[in-house]
């Protein structure tokens, strides 16, 4: 059977599964629509959270990012996992005890203020929409590359699938499809990783293989350091960024992760406070399976790529691969434009090296090399081409397609739910029409979901120029506004309305201004105030890493303002005391 047919069958089967789950798990109340009736087992919720969290970018792009950044990519590995420790210890159990439906609802109730709730709704919608654009794009790209379907059709099919299970089942439908999607994506990720580790190091466990040795007895990472530095690239395991920036970027990603509403709300779905704690542990177990495999995939794929091209000694006349003799996968990915070669010195061989390194470029010139000839090496190739490089059977390639789609769809659905519940529960029920019946609210939430899917699909097909910047924006917003507000709401009994609002606005505005300063106002090209280079950054802090600073400013502003304004009313202080103890959580649901 040819690859195309096989891919259609595997992807079609997974889609049929998701739709089947949708029919089985329809939502019949707002409680089921928003928080799956708080009946999700903690391990099941852990799995759903992992799928919710791991996006198209985690599945397709992260290993490639690690392959090219080496040690410096550790910020993503630590940042996107360490946030779960904060979530489990500082937020999830208390927010579960509070026992309502959305994150803005907690902020509104705790700070007895519709204004605070509105600020939280705006942060949530901006962060989630920017994030969901990437997922919709991911769906279109996955369809395009594996099924040769036009990008727009791919996005439309993805929208249709999400529509079926998210509109019908809300959080309940999303939860059970996310569990299925987790199984698909983790299987699709680990199978090629196991084979590539086995090929290179003889160890089937990628996490051990990365610390293993090659057939010649040299440690894989030492070999990789050698191979890349021989060609003028920076050593793989060496630190390239400044310590302060790496520190703050890791911290920003951690508190941003803990503050992302679509992740937090997953912990509203478990039956008890104790379940929320343990469920965060399970979520991290399921995430860690992929996140500890990715560094192995990245390092091994990089080594494979370098060794494929640099077949012999650097500088020797026959040390480089003859272009006509390039392997089949190389040709396949050239046709997609992810790999591109240009024979600059006309010798018919491929020279792949760092021509930006002046010292090495001079040396390269003495070999007769006239510049790096791999003019395009897309990072995504490290995961997408892996099964072909490792010569795995076609069904594994088909599985990678289904895995990429599962990762994108599961994250999209979680984000869409966060957006639609903010609209139907926080804006419509909370502000515009408080007297709305449950039946009408359920209808409103389904309509909000359908609307959110349409907007996300439209933006996925017509991505605004800033789509690539979303990571900085979404994490910056979550880190500088939502996370501190939630934390102070739980840990500082005296934190009042005035303090929380001023704090959120301070964190939000400083972070946004810092991002816009270097990336253009609202990301319009040409409006940046200074070039986005380390020399211009304040103390060498990149815009992506500023969220932690924004959070600190939020804490400081909120504390000062709360000290000089009236303390929160008695019943709010009782509310805080109440969410700090697990007892009575079941009752809190019936509000």
């Amino acid at each position: 059977m040819d690859l195309q047919t096989l891919t259609y069958i595997v992807v079609g089967a997974t889609f049929a599964l998701y739709i089947g789950i949708a029919f089985w798990s329809r939502a019949s109340s707002t409680g089921e629509f928003y928080v799956a009736g708080t009946g999700v087992h903690p391990i099941a919720n852990g799995m759903a959270t992992a799928a919710d969290w791991m996006s198209a970018a985690s599945f397709i792009s992260m290993a490639g990012l690690i392959a090219f950044l080496g040690y410096d990519a550790s910020v993503y590995l630590m940042g996107w996992t360490g946030g779960y420790v904060l979530l489990a210890l500082l937020l999830a159990p208390y927010l579960r005890k509070f026992g309502k439906f959305t994150v803005p609802e907690f902020i509104g109730d705790r700070f007895y203020s519709k204004g605070a709730r509105l600020v939280a709704v705006i942060c949530l919608i901006v962060a989630s929409i920017t994030y969901v654009i990437g997922q919709m794009k991911g769906v279109g790209v996955a369809f395009g590359r594996f099924l040769e379907v036009p990008f727009e059709i791919g996005v439309l099919v993805g929208m249709g699938i999400v529509f079926i299970y998210a509109v019908m089942g809300g959080m309940k439908g999303i939860t059970y499809t996310q569990i299925a999607q987790y199984c698909v994506l983790i299987f699709a990720y680990t199978v090629p990783a196991i084979f590539i580790a086995l090929n290179l190091t003889g160890n089937p466990i990628p996490q051990l293989g990365l610390g293993g040795s090659m057939a010649d007895g040299v440690a894989l990472l030492d070999k990789l350091d050698m191979v890349v530095t021989d060609l003028g690239f920076a050593a793989y395991t060496a630190q390239k960024g400044t310590t302060l920036n790496i520190f703050l970027l890791t911290l920003s990603l951690m508190i941003g992760t803990a503050g992302l509403p679509h992740v937090i709300v997953r912990f509203f779905t478990v039956p008890k406070v104790a379940d929320a704690r343990i469920s965060a542990g399970w979520a991290l177990v399921f995430i860690a399976i992929l996140y500890t495999t990715a560094p192995a995939v990245g390092a091994m794929a990089r080594l494979n790529l370098m060794d494929t091209i640099q077949t012999g000694e650097v500088g020797a006349a026959d040390g480089n691969l003859i272009y006509e003799e390039r392997p089949e996968w190389f040709k396949n990915w050239e046709t997609t434009g992810l790999l591109a070669f240009e024979d600059k010195n006309g010798d018919g061989r491929i020279q792949y090296y760092n021509d930006k390194n002046e010292e090495f470029a001079a040396k390269a010139a003495s070999f007769g090399w006239k510049g790096n000839e791999m003019v395009k090496v897309d990072r995504d190739i490290m995961v997408l081409a892996n099964p072909e490089i490792a010569k795995l059977p076609n069904w594994v390639i088909a599985l990678v397609a289904a895995g990429g789609l599962a990762a994108a769809l599961s994250t999209a659905a979680g984000l869409l739910l966060a957006i639609s519940s903010a609209i139907s529960h926080d804006v419509i029920k909370g502000m515009i029409a408080p007297g709305i019946s449950e039946k009408k609210e359920l209808l409103a939430s389904r309509l909000a979901m359908a609307g959110a899917i349409a907007v996300a699909g439209y933006l996925g097909m017509n991505p605004p120029g800033f789509a690539a910047q979303v990571v900085a924006l979404a994490f910056g917003l979550a880190a500088s506004s939502i996370f501190p507000a939630l934390m102070m709401g739980i840990f500082n009994k005296k934190m009042n309305r005035e303090g929380a609002i001023v704090g959120m606005l301070t964190g939000l505005s400083t972070t946004l201004i810092y991002i816009f300063w270097f990336k253009g106002w609202f990301f319009f090209p040409g409006t940046e105030m200074a070039a986005n280079t380390p020399d211009n950054w304040f103390m060498g802090i990149s815009p992506e890493a500023f969220g932690a600073v924004g959070a600190l400013l939020n804490f400081i502003a909120a504390t000062i303002v709360s000290k000089i304004t009236a303390a929160p009313p008695e019943h709010i202080q009782h509310l805080v005391e109440d969410i700090r103890v697990p007892k009575g959580a079941a009752a809190a649901v019936d509000h």
Binding site: V85, I246, P582, K583
Partner: protein, 86 residues
């Protein structure tokens, strides 16, 4: 009043446990994985340099263990102070 008192003690015990867990969280990621990474890279464990291992593997394993440890200890505290559910 005594219930009030016991709840305060429960909260203090929780904060102590949190501080302990978060200090380990800080040490394995920020200290071992970032600040001291060069010094630790002088030590090799198998084919890994220790600092690099903490940054790309070790810290994540410790994070997982930390959450389960915290959950386990909190369940015990919940019962000890009689604030557990059901």
């Amino acid at each position: 009043m005594s219930e009030q008192r016991s709840r305060q003690d429960y909260w203090k015990a929780n904060l102590r446990l949190m501080a302990f867990c978060l200090s380990i969280w800080f040490v394995v990621s920020y200290l071992f994985g970032i600040i001291l990474v060069d010094q630790l890279n002088a030590i090799s464990v198998g084919g890994y340099r220790l600092g690099f291992w903490f940054a790309q593997q070790g810290s994540i394993y410790v994070f997982v263990v930390l959450i389960f440890f915290y959950a386990y200890r909190m369940n015990k505290l919940d019962r000890q102070f009689d604030v557990h559910e059901d």
